[in-house]
């Protein structure tokens, strides 16, 4: 019915070849989707509707270069914990979000960090620790120091954002994309220089 070739010829060549795949992680209700939608569409969603898994992709200009950002907005709820692995595997960079007014969500970042590292098996995976809801400072439960300390520990950047006021929203996505880009360039340099070093260390630990 619809001209498939037309779509192909019109839409596809326009898309930049470079796609940076970003995954939003964090506990339920911390504002992953809000951040995503604010970044994507400049809109702030007031009402809360648990996400299952949403997918967004758009063209952005990163430091003068046209690239595509692909955002996978995952479910924060524990119910979906089991399917996370699959998602994480495809991610190139992670925004680990917690709510500054919810201590538990901050604690959960630890688990997410671990799961990501396990799946990606890479200590230097592009990763940003994001403290959301900065506009609700009066309800703050997680101090900036606390968060910064953890970021330092993980060797990642900590940024406080507000999906509501759009404070630092673009910054976290662009910073992450830059990290991803530099990682990719590094990787290509490596693969060009010498064959890819494969971590073939085998765990022989058996738990009885």
């Amino acid at each position: 019915m619809f001209c498939e070739t037309g779509i192909m010829s019109k839409a596809k060549p326009q898309q930049p070849a470079v796609i940076h795949k970003v995954i939003m992680v964090g506990s339920g209700g911390v504002g992953k989707s809000a951040l995503t939608l604010q970044f994507m569409y400049d809109e702030f969603i007031e009402d809360y509707e648990p996400t299952k898994a949403d997918s967004y992709r758009k063209k952005v200009v990163l430091d003068g270069e046209e690239v595509q950002i692909d955002i996978l907005d995952t479910a924060g709820q524990e119910d979906y914990a089991a399917i996370r692995d699959n998602y994480f595997r495809s991610g190139e960079g992670f925004l680990c979000v917690f709510s500054i007014k919810e201590q538990e969500s901050f604690q959960a970042t630890q688990d997410f960090r671990e799961q990501i590292l396990r799946v990606k098996n890479d200590e230097n995976i592009p990763f940003l620790l994001v403290g959301n809801m900065a506009d609700l400072a009066e309800q703050r439960q997680v101090t900036e120091d606390e968060a910064l300390k953890r970021a330092l520990e993980w060797k990642v950047t900590y940024v406080e954002t507000s999906a509501k006021t759009r404070a630092n929203v673009d910054k976290v996505f662009y910073d992450l994309m830059r990290e991803i880009r530099s990682r990719k360039m590094e990787a290509s340099r490596q693969s060009n220089g010498k064959p890819k070093k494969k971590d073939s260390k085998k765990m022989k630990c058996v738990i009885l």
Binding site: C3, I7, A53, I207
Partner: protein, 939 residues
Amino acid sequence: MAPRYPPPLVTGVSPKEGPPGTRITIRGENFGNDPRDLIGLKICGMDCLLSAEWKSSAKIIARTGPGKGMGDIIPITRYGGVGSCTVGFRGYFLQIGPLQESAVWIDESQTVQSNLDRGRSATTIAAKEEEDPLGILDEGDKPRLGEDQLLEMFPEASGNLSLENFSPGWYLLEHHRNASFSDLKAGLSYMKRKASTRSEGPITFVRSNLTTILDCLDSLTAMYEKYNEEDLRGDCMNSYAVLLMQAKSCADGLFQEVLGRKDKADSTRNALSVIQKFRFLFHLPLNIQRNIQKGDYNMVINDYEKAKSLFADTEIKVFRKVYREVERRIGGFRNMLHKRLKDTHNTLDEQKKLIRYLVSLEYKGDPAWECLDNQQNWLIELLDDCKDDHIEEEKNSVQAENHAVSPGGPQWKPLSKVNKSPSRTGITRESSFSSLSSSDQQAAWKFRTPQKVLFIEDITDIMLQHFPDYWRLGQSYFTREKSEKGVKIDTSKHGKMKQMMTEVVSLFSNYVRAAFLPESLEGMPEAEREKFGVWPKSGKQDNIPGNWLPICVRNIRNCANYLSGLDGHGDSMIVLKDLAFDMRTNCMFTLLKQAISDVKCLHTKETWVVETDDQCGGTTQLPALFENIVNEAIQHLHEVVVMNKPSEPEIFSQRPIQKEATMLCSQLLQAFSICMEQLVFSPPLQKKETKQVKIVIGQEVEVEQHGDPIPSLDKRLIIMLSNCRHTLEVVVPRIIENLTKHGYVEMEKALKAAQDTYGALDQRLFSSYIEQKSDPILGAMEPNLYRGGFSWRGWQGQAQGVRNYLKEIIMSLIEVHSEVFSISPKFVMRVMQKITEAVCEELCRLIQCVTEFNAGGAIQARLELEALHSTVRIYSTNHVEACFKEAFDVIPELSEEGKLMVAGLLEQFKARMRIQLWCFQSEDEPVPLKMMTHADSSC
């Protein structure tokens, strides 16, 4: 082409995967400016436009279709065309088991049915086995440990979850050898969560392995029965049986809830299917209601028939209840139809339909008959109302007229009446009939249609509009009964029907008769006549103007003709035909009578202006007017009298009518003579007098307009004489011819009578004219003759020539001649003959009376006789000749000298009087010289 907008682009989808029917939020750009701009939406190749909900140009909410696998989301907008997407949607199918709760309706026919058919399959347990209890996905890229390796590590154990000697170590090594410790920990917590959700423990286990357990139980039972039968084990069987029983009761306990739910579900399903199956019945009351509102009565009846055949005798309570409801509705429907049937404004078709409906709804009684009855009453009512209304109007107008006539009374305004029926004013037809009428009431009548005419138009309208419907209804009533029921022909009703028809028709006819032919109802008792309406009599103005009658007659005839065209149904048609016939005759008589009276009034129209033409001689316009009136009457009557419609009797076929018609015709013809006679002998009064007496306005105007003085009697006489002659010779035969042409019979009689009348009138007029003319001449003769002491005896003087008296006589004769000639040359001979005869006779008588002549006297007498004789020669008759002869005999013989003298003097007289004498020449005697020679010879 609309301006092109950028094509829509989808950049976000939430969620990105799900089973069919997942509600997804699609975000992006250029989705159009309003919902109508979105003209297409494809998700995974499936069109989802129906479920699409346009939120903004950047957001659409839709439900996915049954697309499977990864696919694009393509919106299409009116101005942007086919869009593209950067994100996709993955559709997958969920299989929901019979025991899982589901928010949506699942088609169980495959799963449940097949399971029931095929027995319990082991899919459940197999599926469970495949699922990892720890929720850790197998990495898959590491080689697995071999079975024998594991067996070596765990002797006497197994990795099978369902076995008793299951060893977790074995399992973990086998499946998750590469998992990290934290993974395993996560897996443990996952398993714990899982376990907690199925906290019932054994029940959950049993549930998830139901089929196996049932199989076990079945085989155990089978075993038990088999052992029992063969009595192999004896006592131990008891405990076995007990165990089995326990297992059963335990199972029952376990599944009580589930089974209860299942039973409920089954019964619900049953109920649903029953409802589905008998949905027709359950929806019927509502449907009936709806169809009645929609006016789809056929549907209602069909449904009802169907329901009746299916459920009328049902024993099932629910059905009975619903059916009762249906019956109730149908009852209401029936009543409604019945009510509508009573409403008389329906058309014939509607009525037929309603009746059919009622019959098919088994309405008690005979709806058609009721309808007929109803219709008849209504018709009668209509006729009644029509009559009453018009009589009322008439009364009012009569009153108004009376007021208007009485001096100082309120002025009657014809306009107000006219306004009431503007459509009728157009037909007002002016004719000599009404314009000749000589009263101001009549004049007022001219301005509007007479009430009776309106009445007849209305009443025939009613008949024409409604009676045919009524009749057809009646007709179809019998034909229907014949065709449908076969048995139910009620002959008594046939008769009754006929009677009803006749009733209506005769009522109609009587109303018309009351208005137009009241005398035809005289045979009835007074009270009964009053019922048909008593039309007010407005004194002189009793009858409506004749020119309206043909319209009435036409109406009635059309009506009669049309109604009898419905198939002559006996009595009623005879009544109608009689009515039409009577109307025709009445019309004819009335018109003829009116014409007669009009003709009689003609004398007021005389202007005394004589127009001469070569053929007819001099006439006034009166004969032409007369002819006009008659011809117009004939013309008016043409349609009424001559044109017979099929099945109408010849109007002259009845002897009395024929006689009367002939009589009226001849009266009409003769009426003019009266008029003329009146004009001559008692002419209308002079202008002065009319002003004093003030008779009627119309006449006064007439006289003023023409202003001609009425001529003297002798002039009038000669004019009328000419008119009479003209009428007799030209007009009457023409009229007779016209009449005969129009079918009037025995016109010879009328002609004869007319000729007699006009002949007599002619005679009368002629003789009085002659008298009028000759009397002064004769009277003056003797005194003039003997003037100056003249005496035949003592005549001494020389004969001087013809004396003056004779010249005066001749001059008088010339005067008469000219008078007659100016009116009608034809009469000259006739009149002159008569007058010369009288004159000559008188002169001769005078001469004869002379006893003695002297010579001079004899010469003189001879001379004068000769002179007269020669002068009137062309008008002379035998009688005149004889007179002259006698006179000549009396005069003594003249001497030769005397003779010569007479001849000389005669010659002298002729020469002197030449001009005058020309008048006495006949037209074929051209020259006066010749005449002289004649005179000589006669000497």
